[in-house]
Symmetry: C2
Subunit: 521 residues, 2 copies
């Protein structure tokens, strides 16, 4: 691995470099990665702009084939990719194998979305020359890509939310060239995937500007990228501070642009009385499995538990405490994330309204996260709802409530979330239904009798939610409708057929789904 | 008319008042209108929040009936409404009759949109319990309203972009309660329409918080409204300065919210060589008809003409000059708008690169706009593209270009626009097609052989465009898809059927259109 980055199809090296480290040992990994300069950002964005018109007018079949070619090129990297991602992230090879499957599956899902053609939103209202008092023109609508998109890779999914992750796949599906800023924690993983993409661009004969990969650890790089006038939208997954900083840059540009930032969430889990009574202990064990998976480094990690006092809850707590105490420390992604986790846990430990229930096994070695479970009361939470702030990692807070009304009050003061989880038995259904309107206002996904970790990539997924879970609650960053973030409508009025885009010509040569007078044609 | 405003169903009076004036005479109109206080804003927004859950879960048929009832209540105001709107705006009664028809037609269009049900975006991916390596959960998506919406009425459409205009109609269609800040130039018109809505809310038995009308001329009122934590989105049509001020407030709230602001546009019209040669004089006369209609007070007014030098252009200019010189002065909406128009015209007149081609007849009386046509060259425009800034009113600038390439260069430096118009004959089609990718990047609607004024309310309309035409190019403020601005997706995972919202239950009791595995069920 030579440590270059990619400006279109060109591998570029620069004198300034940085290195990744193995979080499991703290040791620096050998390759020195070039840091992209402001001039590299400018060149990558200009190339993306040059690529836009040809890329956006590709036939759906050709854009779909490109997405599939990226997937197969990533698969062809084989164990090299998994080994590098393991060294840079500390995630297990089994997890990374699964994540690669998800990443390639996601690219293939968007290939299908592109072929299906609903994304174009084609809609035709034919002329009504006889209408009185005024005739109606012929009006046709299609959606086109917003333009080049900047994507910021996340640390916690070095494949699925990184260089060829959901933001990139959905932006390409919409027809947007993508300039990625790789996450500095996994530059080698980023470069391997970037190089696979570079080959796919070449194999498919596309304009090289369809993809660039910039690397570096400084905030300046991100600032130049989001400020570049060719960039028309931003995809980001990461911290609240990071997302808000990008929003600020994007909204104060001469031409403001949308930022789709997925930021923070504590994902309340509500344990209903009947479910607790029937299976409190089993729920406690299952909860800890979800909490500690991947060292708890998921945006959908269950960080808050809400339950009504009682015997069922005692059984839950007993099982959860036992499971936490048996939880083996796992390597966290970076030393900064590990230090933040320890700080957040210490703050809860020292909070006068919070009691420690259990810690995981004491870590030995570098950057191991020690799981933690705390408890407080609903009344105490309502006095200081900063207790509901995210601690990224395997830490959770049980809020013991007097009754279901107090649970509702606690949810009422919480900020926007990605998910809410209901543990319910038949006898809880009525109470759960009463809570639905409130939950719908607060979250993007409501699930029953499962755990929020594990986000299916499909048509009906919503991985989004009210602020600060995301910066735009009207969107999702996972699933087929993620493509909508990167499209804008254009109307064509009385244009001669030969000037119309193919999707709107009378003969419908691309055989795309269309509306006629607002209903399917 | 008693000069109150409406907080839900309650008519409220306050000691502080303001009056409207008749722009045709400058005289104050009799009624003293109460100014809403910060406490009134808070109460209206709290009521809107209270109304949200019942309003959003109305059966589509009931929400559609409400929209239709508003339309019929407005129609029942009869001539009273037209006379008051005429006195407050100076617009002709014929124009206002047409605008009332458009306003009521728009409400009925959204009633049909609500009944059709596509807005809910219902999508079902059934469980796949046998899938390997992991089973898939049952995942169902629907869209719900974002929450209460603040709407700012525009001065130039006292009916169609005001209290019961497109923003209000589309927000209600989505299920959002609406708090309107009436435009201070037409408070009587606003109150008449507001009172019609109040009656419709009562007739339909809805929660009173579905609608409030606040009145007043100060910016503080708008600031309190956009800052209120119950408000989740803003619709605005007006000036660039006004729109940007609201964006700033909305993006720096503790919870940022989207602002859909339609702001400014000069709507370039491109006169292609063959069209000019065939019908230069006829185009000149037709252009002036579009330019001077309604004293040019449309966001789609043709403010910039682009053409290649030649005999066809000479014929166009000759006819346009004659028509402008015969154009009778018309009353403008307010003295402030009239003064701004005169300032903008004077600035062009004094610009060293601009020559005056013609002025309309000299006005007598108050607030009459005197039409103006200027010219410059493509080379001069490229040196100072501030020449492309909007002058709200009947003023236009002809940019004489050396060739089609220079026309493209001029468009390249222009900001985002609502529309671009092509005047083309068969011999121009190839050149027009070459220009399409550039035009698509710049505008929301491209039309041929018509004029941009006149915005059809239909399924395929886009009244939007890249910044600064609007604050969010992914949306439209006119037409059926305007509803999309006010909806956000929620996913339901493995929820028991009895807890699911009706639109997603297995039996589909509302008979709504749904996707299954991403394609129509």
């Amino acid at each position: 691995m030579d440590g270059s980055f990619l400006v279109g199809g060109t591998k570029v090296s620069r004198p300034e470099t940085f290195q990744a480290s193995d979080p499991a040992t703290g040791a620096l990994l050998a390759t020195e990665f070039s840091v992209s300069s402001a001039a590299d950002v400018a060149r990558a964005c200009a190339l993306a702009d040059e690529a836009l018109d040809s890329f956006r007018e590709l036939a759906p079949e050709d854009r779909a084939t490109f997405l599939e070619t990226v997937a197969s090129q990533i698969e062809q990297l084989g164990d090299t990719l998994i080994e590098r991602a393991h060294a840079e992230s500390g995630l297990t090879e089994a997890r990374l194998n699964g994540e690669r499957g998800r990443t390639c599956g996601q690219l293939r899902l968007f290939a299908r979305v592109v072929r299906d053609g609903y994304w174009a939103g084609a809609s035709i209202d034919p002329a009504l020359p006889e209408r009185t008092p005024l005739p109606r023109s012929d009006l046709r609508l299609r959606r086109i890509p917003v333009g080049p998109v900047a994507v910021f890779g996340a640390s916690n999914f070095p494949l699925a939310f990184s260089v060829a992750g959901g933001d990139t796949a959905s932006a390409w599906a919409a027809g947007c060239p993508v300039v990625v800023k790789g996450h500095p924690a996994h530059p080698g993983t980023s470069l391997l995937v970037g190089d696979a993409i570079r080959r796919a661009v070449e194999i498919c004969g596309l304009h090289e500007g369809v993809f660039s990969l910039l690397q570096g650890a400084s905030n300046n790089l991100g600032t130049s990228l989001v400020s570049n006038p060719h960039i028309k939208a931003v995809g980001f997954t990461g911290s609240r501070a990071g997302g808000l900083a990008l929003l600020e840059i994007a909204s104060t540009r001469p031409e403001p642009i949308p930022v789709f930032a997925e930021m923070s969430s504590v994902n309340p889990v509500i344990l209903f009385p009947q479910a607790l009574e029937a299976r409190g202990a089993a729920l406690g064990a299952a909860f800890v499995a979800s909490l500690t998976m991947g060292s708890g480094q998921f945006c959908t990690n269950p960080g808050i538990l809400l339950a009504v006092e009682g015997e069922g809850l005692d059984a839950f707590v007993g099982a959860a405490v036992a499971a936490i105490e048996g939880a083996q420390p796992q390597v966290m992604l970076t030393s900064a994330i590990h230090a933040n986790f320890d700080r957040g846990v210490a703050a809860l430990e020292n909070h006068e309204s919070v009691r420690l229930l259990a810690r995981g096994a004491v870590p030995t070695g570098c950057n191991r996260g020690q799981a933690a479970l705390f408890e407080t009361s609903g009344a105490e939470f309502l006095k200081d709802y900063a207790l509901g702030h995210e601690i990224f990692g395997a830490a959770s807070l049980l809020v013991r409530c007097a009754d279901l009304a107090e649970i509702a009050s606690v949810i009422e003061v919480m900020e926007g979330q990605l998910t809410a989880t209901l543990q319910i038995d038949a006898g809880d259904h009525e109470a759960a239904r009463d809570l639905m309107p409130l939950l719908e206002r607060k979250v993007g996904r409501i699930l029953a009798n499962g755990w929020p970790t594990g986000v299916e990539v499909c048509n009906a997924m919503v991985h989004g939610g009210p602020f600060p879970a995301t910066s735009d609650s009207r969107t999702t960053s996972v699933g087929a409708t993620a493509i909508d973030r990167f499209l804008r409508p254009v109307c064509y009025q009385d244009l001669p057929d030969e000037i119309l885009p193919a999707v709107l010509r009378d003969a419908n040569p691309l055989n795309m789904p269309r509306l006629r007078e607002g209903t399917p044609d």
